[in-house]
């Protein structure tokens, strides 16, 4: 990644222009050609730095709810538990973290009741009893862009 790549990344993380010729518009902002922008973004995708370019929806505005869930999973059961959890399409993020509650995942679904039901199902399927639902009580911030030039 060079300085121009970083500049492009900073622009397209949050302000990808929804216009007829977006790559041309980005090029004008950065000071390179449309073709060059397309080549560079193509390379960033190939390298795996860009996962995708598209819309991220607000679940609440579309009538969905989301939650963070935590589970206490014995080390020997982690693989099985994670496989079961990840089989749900509403699970979008899943991490192992260094705590007694060692598996943390996010769940998006049409209602909190549906999430609760699926957590019970996960418990039953895996035998992991301590699975917690931690829905948002109060919201302070969400931001998902990162300054690449820093």
């Amino acid at each position: 990644m060079d300085a121009i790549d970083k500049k492009i990344l900073n622009i397209i993380q949050t302000k990808f222009p929804i216009v007829q010729k977006p790559y041309d518009a980005i090029g004008k902002e950065v000071g390179i050609s449309e073709e060059d922008v397309i080549t560079r973004i193509g390379n960033l995708k190939k390298e795996g730095i860009i996962r995708r370019i598209g819309a991220t929806y607000d679940p609440r505005k579309l009538g969905f709810v989301s939650s963070l869930c935590a589970a206490k999973v014995p080390p020997e059961k982690i693989k099985e538990f994670v496989d079961v959890v990840n089989s749900y399409s509403g699970v979008t993020h899943n991490y192992e973290r260094d705590n007694d509650y060692n598996i943390w995942f996010t769940f998006i679904d049409e209602s909190m009741e549906e999430i609760e039901n699926k957590l019970k199902e996960i418990s039953q399927k895996t035998g992991v009893k301590d699975v917690r639902n931690l829905p948002t009580v109060r919201f302070f911030k969400i931001r998902v862009d990162f300054d690449m030039e820093k």
Partner: protein
């Protein structure tokens, strides 16, 4: 609006842009053709969804680990009920904090404010947490680092 009240065309537009848009000079023209509507209508609708907040963000999703932002620490904080509004607002002002939420505590888990803290190294994250602690006066906290990423995907809504 919710997904249930959207027209078929609106849903088709949302479907077209929920994955990865084409890397050709006029990506929205290509997508509009697939949906079967004029390009300008497609572009106007997408911008309308963005303006109304149905689309929270339109742009590139980055794999942070590959981009060198390798450490993410989940900060969890013990904050008294009456102080959470004040503390949450201060935490949200830190640029290294991407997410800040209040969540329920329970027996054996006293933490009620959650902050995702990002940095190049774990030490960076610890430094930020220390600054947050100093700025808020909250001393009871932990940073939970991810040792493995099992899944990171975008939700498919349409």
């Amino acid at each position: 609006m919710s997904k249930k009240t959207m027209t078929d065309v609106e849903k088709a537009i949302c479907t077209a842009i929920q994955y990865d848009i084409p890397l050709d000079p006029c990506p929205f023209e290509t997508l509009a053709k697939k949906v079967g509507i004029p390009e300008d209508e497609f572009i106007n609708k997408a911008n309308e969804f963005l303006g109304k907040g149905y689309i929270r963000r339109f742009g590139a999703a980055i794999r942070h680990r590959k981009a060198g932002i390798t450490a993410n620490g989940m900060g969890v904080w013990v904050v008294p009920d009456e102080d959470r509004e004040r503390v949450g607002k201060i935490m949200a002002t830190f640029k290294e904090v991407s997410h800040c939420y209040e969540r329920p505590s329970f027996e054996g888990w006293p933490y009620n404010l959650f902050t995702m803290i990002h940095g190049r190294t774990k030490e960076d994250c610890y430094d930020v947490a220390k600054k947050i602690s100093e700025a808020t006066g909250i001393k009871g906290y932990k940073l939970l680092f991810s040792s493995q990423e099992f899944k990171k995907e975008s939700m498919i809504y349409f």
